[in-house]
Symmetry: none
Subunit: 234 residues, 2 copies
């Protein structure tokens, strides 16, 4: 973070980083750092606050880095390789194992200078609302850190939704058994006229197929059907 | 935002939304709202602060919405369709043209209650650092809003899975009306013991939310419930 004015933003940035598994925060000529408000905003990221480094120039901050990306709100006069946060995160994950990768964020008021941006391999542009593109600096860090985590997790972040199921999806036979039971019950309660069924069963079949019922759910629904039929009989 | 304690977080959320092109902020029973600090944090998002709505319940907040997603840090006892922010944004962009889509965020201290989460079609989990997963609520909103913008900008890449629907997805109020009717009917036919409901209604709610019922389907299901109740009465 370059020449950050508000210590609160440094604390918020530390928290944003920690929630996404990042740890190394370097400040270039901050106005103030270890204030009470910064720690309050850092919340559970005290370790990042305690271990942050303060240096005198961007050059010094990124001296050990193999790849440097600078956050830029504006399209500059001199075109630079411009990428979005997702692309930046992919590059960071690709290049990270080799040498440290730096993400650089500028002043609250004016961002990074042209001279600082010229030290970056890439410029990262968050595709914000053109009518109001002024993100808080810690919010910008939250987005980039989030994208880095998503890229690092890779495919594993997209879990198979069926893994969260309690019971496996019902098989075809079980599903058909339920549909037959539903149909018989609807005839029993005189909701369905077997001589003029129209599209009713097709609509209900489509609905329940779309829901991808598991076996537990089929058992519940058939339990309801049984209770309904009993009511009719007795 | 449900029962937000700090007005500052409301202001930060407004700014996060505006930078990503979102505008409709609804607060459910906030502790305080239009404070000086909230406006300071909102920065250029004064219009969102001025136009926000304050309501008494989540149901009221999402009553006109066709699709509701709730932010959840924890994996709950009863598994629900769980997606990450990117998947959530894709769904929001797909479903947005039909009826409003709601993203719901909970209390700073404890998130959303199980009852509130049960009103959501999806639970959104930000894949945070398991060692410290406590994002600031406005930061979580920033990430979701950013993903919505990324999805909206790339929307043409995603095909509309809803194209084949005959009728638009039912709104929240209509869905709740059906769930209430279902519950009453199950009590009437003595399938549900109101003194010992266990997880039955939660499971059925999850099933029918997952099915994303349209209004025609709700009409059919309520027709079946009416016939069942009539049978019981006479």
């Amino acid at each position: 973070m370059v020449e950050t004015t508000l210590a609160a933003n440094i604390g918020s940035a530390a928290r944003a980083m920690k929630t996404m598994g990042l740890s190394d925060l370097v400040l270039v000529k901050p106005k103030s750092v270890h204030t009470e408000e910064a720690y309050a905003r850092a919340s559970g990221a005290i370790d990042i606050m305690d271990n942050l480094k303060v240096v005198d120039s961007l050059s010094e901050a990124v001296s050990d880095c193999g790849f440097v990306m600078g956050s830029s709100a504006r399209i500059r006069g001199l075109p630079w390789p411009l990428i979005n946060p997702r692309e930046a995160a992919e590059e960071a994950v690709l290049k990270g194992p080799d040498k440290p990768v730096a993400l650089v964020f500028g002043r609250e008021s004016s961002g990074l200078s042209n001279e600082e941006l010229a030290q970056c391999h890439r410029h990262v542009h968050i595709p914000a609302n053109p009518e109001y593109s002024s993100l808080n600096v810690a919010s910008a860090i939250q987005i980039l850190a989030y994208e880095c985590r998503m890229a690092a997790l890779g495919a594993s972040a997209f879990e198979d939704k069926n893994e969260q199921r309690e019971a496996p999806i019902a098989d075809h036979e079980s599903m058909e058994g339920f549909i037959q039971h539903l149909q018989q019950t609807l005839v029993d309660i005189q909701f369905l006229d077997p001589n003029n069924p129209k599209l009713l069963m097709t609509r209900l079949r489509r609905l329940y197929l779309r829901a991808e019922l598991d076996q537990t759910e089929i058992n519940i629904l058939r339990g309801i059907l049984k209770s309904t039929q009993k009511l009719k009989d007795g």
